[in-house]
Symmetry: C2
Subunit: 214 residues, 2 copies
């Protein structure tokens, strides 16, 4: 059985859960508690030298790391339903939307970075929250403009089926809400998020229903 090593609140693990669910694949989950620094233990480092989650371990023990690489791998091995459109320009659009979140928002706001701000730079709670919200605002403002002005947007970020872009967006919206970011300025993001959250592949991937949810 395919095994996902993740953490219920990790955006990156959440992405992979959505992808696995959209593909209709069964998988076991093994929690790696980031708050307890289990990702720094030898067992996990052997499969993920970065000490990050998620890692997907296949039946034959092969490890696939990095959430976007895992999603693209799943899409190549299990092509239907597709997580990317067929047309090259449309694929580029979906990947760019996914990367806006996965390269330009999430890396700045994940737990290891917030820990560094507080522990090494002595950032207080107010400044930490301002940091978090700043990068969400920067990214979501641009994403809202892109989604609201491009006719390729539909019920989902691209057209009327879920893609890699939605897989990245929903965990980011979840975490933005957790940090009480004001999302009122992003009606298109909110509309798409509400639609995704009506679907079992997304609801079953939500942090609060994972086995390690505290």
């Amino acid at each position: 059985m395919t095994t996902l090593f993740g953490y219920f609140r990790s955006s990156a693990a959440y992405r992979v859960r959505i992808a696995l669910n959209l593909k209709g694949l069964d998988y076991d989950q093994v929690p790696v508690n980031l708050v307890k620094s289990e990702q720094r233990g030898g067992d996990h480092l052997a499969r993920n030298p970065q000490g990050l989650v998620p890692s997907l371990v296949l039946d034959d023990s092969t490890v696939v790391n990095q959430s976007l690489a895992i999603c693209e791998y799943l899409d190549e091995v299990y092509p239907m339903p597709a997580l990317l459109p067929v047309n090259a320009l449309a694929r580029a659009r979906v990947r760019a939307l996914a990367q806006l979140v996965a390269c330009d928002i999430h890396p700045l706001n994940n737990l290891r970075v917030l820990k560094y701000l507080v522990g090494e730079l002595g950032t207080d709670e107010t400044a930490k929250l301002a940091w978090y919200r700043h990068w969400v605002t920067e990214g979501f403002a641009a994403l809202e403009t892109t989604l609201a002005t491009d006719p390729s947007s539909g019920d989902f970020c691209h057209g009327n089926t879920p893609t890699l872009a939605d897989i990245c967006l929903i965990p980011q919206v979840y975490n933005a809400e957790r940090f009480e970011c004001d999302l009122a300025a992003y009606p298109t993001i909110q509309r798409i998020a509400a639609h995704c959250r009506s679907l079992p592949a997304f609801t079953k991937a939500a942090p609060e229903v994972q086995p390690d949810a505290g």
Copy 2:
């Protein structure tokens, strides 16, 4: 003619220059001066609502954003020489190596983040450099382990032809050197970087030979 809107020192623009060169494609360059905040001007925001570089503008004025999405687009439209292997697991490995740099090192160290540290958090020069080097160390230590222990590594990050992983690695090495990070602990990264830097596709993409190099 395809036009790349970039900046000579931007890692993300540097990646796209390498990819265009590897594909043997001609392109015009229009500099967007990040130090002068030209990326926040209306002209650039119209093509890139995030106010980031690079943007690739095609002959028919279509805009493609996000460096990894641009590279994958080029690889799909101009398949040879390939920037990704054929096998799905090998493709996942290359994408994961690329994303280790593009999602877990570079986003923390680019100019807008360093500006926020100094301007908003009052971080001094010493702490800013420590921040920069911390994320390079975190990422490169894991990358070195992965490259040095996996027999799939070759003259390049994956095998004996350049891939998306090398396209991401070389700009990161360049910027790590610029910030005087100690790379002695990463002999495999250094070996691969030296090999890449012997090739015209990489040397022609180097920041110091770009039209906007100051």
